[in-house]
Amino acid sequence: MRGSVAQGVLRRLLYALIAIVGVAALVFVLLRMVPGNPVATLLGEHADNETVERISSSLGLDQPLPVQFANYLLGALRGDFGESYTLGKPVSELIGPAFVNTLWLALAAALVAWVVGIACGLFAAIRKGTIVDRLFMGFSLLGVSLPVFMVSMLLQYVFARYLHWLPVAGISDWTGYILPAIALGWGSAGSIARLVRSSIIEVLQQDYIDTARAKGRTNSQVLVLHALRNAMLPVITLMAMQFSGLLSGAVITETVFSINGIGRLSVQAIAGRDIPLLQGTTLLCTFVIVMGNLAADLLYNVCDPRVRKGA
């Protein structure tokens, strides 16, 4: 049985690798189909054709696409993602610090989402049909439906500009993460709360809950010892996928709160037709999302003995 688990993990790793290379190829081709010559953009309106061609050739842009792609992949394996056109630095040096900023933001937002989401879902489920339930579900519906930029600006207005409790934007210390984490985490908290609620309500109707009560467990013991683990199974998948989503850059939140993360870097790269930089950020996001899904799968395996066999 242990052997089949290892095999399962290896198989999933292989799928993950295929997915990453596939997305890299797709991004590579798509970016070259975008209208507008990056070199022309780089050099400005008044560059002559000869200079454009000379620079293109020095960047390797005149070679056939498959050759360019192979070179890119070989470089990426060595940690070399090329040099940014607009910022004049190696892409790997730009992505590193940006990813650290994004990581902190993602962790802070995930903390908000998980704590608030699970707590709201749990209380709504055990107080099903009461005012508490409706209040929490309304709160989570707001989180799911309100656009992030709107929430961000409301938070900035109330807590920074009006109450002066927290900085408006930028990260000077940890307090800078509070508002963006709430803005970013609220939506995730909303969907987690709704899933936790429905999952707990469903699990509490299962026969084994009756069995647990027939053993003499109190209601709260039944909830914690028998319902919670089973109810969290679908939630784990959602949480892992949301987290990889958060890690791959919150474009709007990072822009509104001036956080130099992956999302903001991607926006800069798009604006500047900075192909190597955009490829770098996209590849990183793909990697993070694929790994996040892999982690969700493996975590699910650990938590649910029923899927372990066929892993």
Binding site: A214, K215, P305
Partner: protein, 325 residues
């Protein structure tokens, strides 16, 4: 008369839904002596599971016990609070459910699910709880208990899972074991094994309340039988008396449906019609609309449960009239 382990008197249990009161159990009285096996038989929805849940104090909302008394060795259960009931459930009264496939927690090792009962009710070391769990698992006929202890429910067959359920219900040596359709989800050979196991428990002094729609199971296990219809006990007798001398038209119908399977008759005998809606019961006898011996007063007056012999009671106007002669 021997001391009764369980004495239910005039129990009424209802569900209060938006469409009105649904009377699931009405005026049900039953007693179970020590080491006695008592069967409750009836169609789906006749209230037999609700009697079991009322005894366990496990009626789901919006249902509740409206009136009546449930005495366990003389202790009144209906007036107990949730915390006191938790101390009794699993220790003094335990229950085996119908579906062994879904009645075990899928993410918990079966050994721990049995062991849990010991640690809830007794302050013993983990090792002692484990030893008692292993002992009860082998007592209910589970082979290779040490391996099975660590198994998850999905790794066991239906029969083994039901044995785990019975082990769970038996580990504290309760005074009363309630088995709600314990063999319905199992195939015939496994059913026979489970019946033998329950019989053995009763012989060791545990009182058993067995609920089934299967008269065959009841005949093999029970000493005394209650036939339920639409929330009422319509007939109650010792198992031999019931099969020899059934008096209520509903009991007759049930027995005819079984015996028509045994005889070479080409047509399956059935009871026409369906169980009435418990929210809108007929004014008179609940069985009147389906009864082939229905008389005028059956549709206007509810019959009383009357004794017709030693331990034999029937709720039917027909019987009363025969008695009067």
């Amino acid at each position: 008369m021997t001391q009764s382990t369980l004495e239910v008197s005039h129990l009424y249990t209802s569900f209060f839904s938006e469409r009105g009161e649904i009377k699931a159990v009405q005026d049900v009285s039953m007693r179970i002596g020590k080491g006695q096996v008592v069967g409750v038989v009836g169609e789906s929805g006749c209230g037999k599971s609700m009697v079991a849940r009322s005894i366990m104090g496990l009626i789901k909302k919006p249902g509740k016990i409206v009136s009546g008394s449930i005495l366990l060795d003389g202790q009144e259960l209906t007036s107990l609070g949730e915390n006191e009931l938790c101390k009794i459930r699993g220790k003094d009264v335990s229950m085996v459910f119908q579906e062994p496939m879904t009645s075990l927690n899928p993410t918990m090792r079966v050994g721990l699910q049995v062991q849990e009962v010991v640690s809830i009710h007794e302050n013993v070391s983990k090792e002692e709880a484990r030893q008692r769990t292993l002992a009860i698992l082998s007592a209910v006929g589970i082979p290779e208990v040490k391996e099975r202890y660590n198994a998850y429910p999905h790794e066991l067959s239906g029969g083994l899972r039901q044995r785990v359920m019975i082990a769970m219900a038996m580990v504290m040596r309760p005074r009363l074991l309630i088995a709600d359709e314990p063999t319905t989800a199992l195939d015939a050979t496994v059913e026979a094994q489970i019946i033998a196991l329950l019989r053995q428990l009763a012989d060791n002094g545990t009182s058993v309340l067995i609920i089934s729609h299967n008269l065959g199971v009841i005949a093999q296990l029970a000493d005394h039988v209650y036939v339920m219809y639409a929330g009422h006990v319509v007939e109650s007798a010792s198992v031999f008396e019931l099969f020899d001398n059934p008096l209520h038209p509903y009991t007759l119908g049930l027995l005819r449906a079984v015996s028509s399977l045994r005889s070479q008759s080409k047509v399956l005998q059935t009871i026409p019609g369906i169980v009435p809606n418990l929210a809108h019961l007929p004014v008179g006898c609940s069985f009147a609309p389906r009864c082939d011996k229905c008389m005028a007063r059956c549709t206007s007056t509810q019959p009383e449960l009357v004794a017709v012999g030693s331990g034999h009671e029937v709720r039917c106007h027909l019987t009363k009239r025969v008695d009067a002669q």
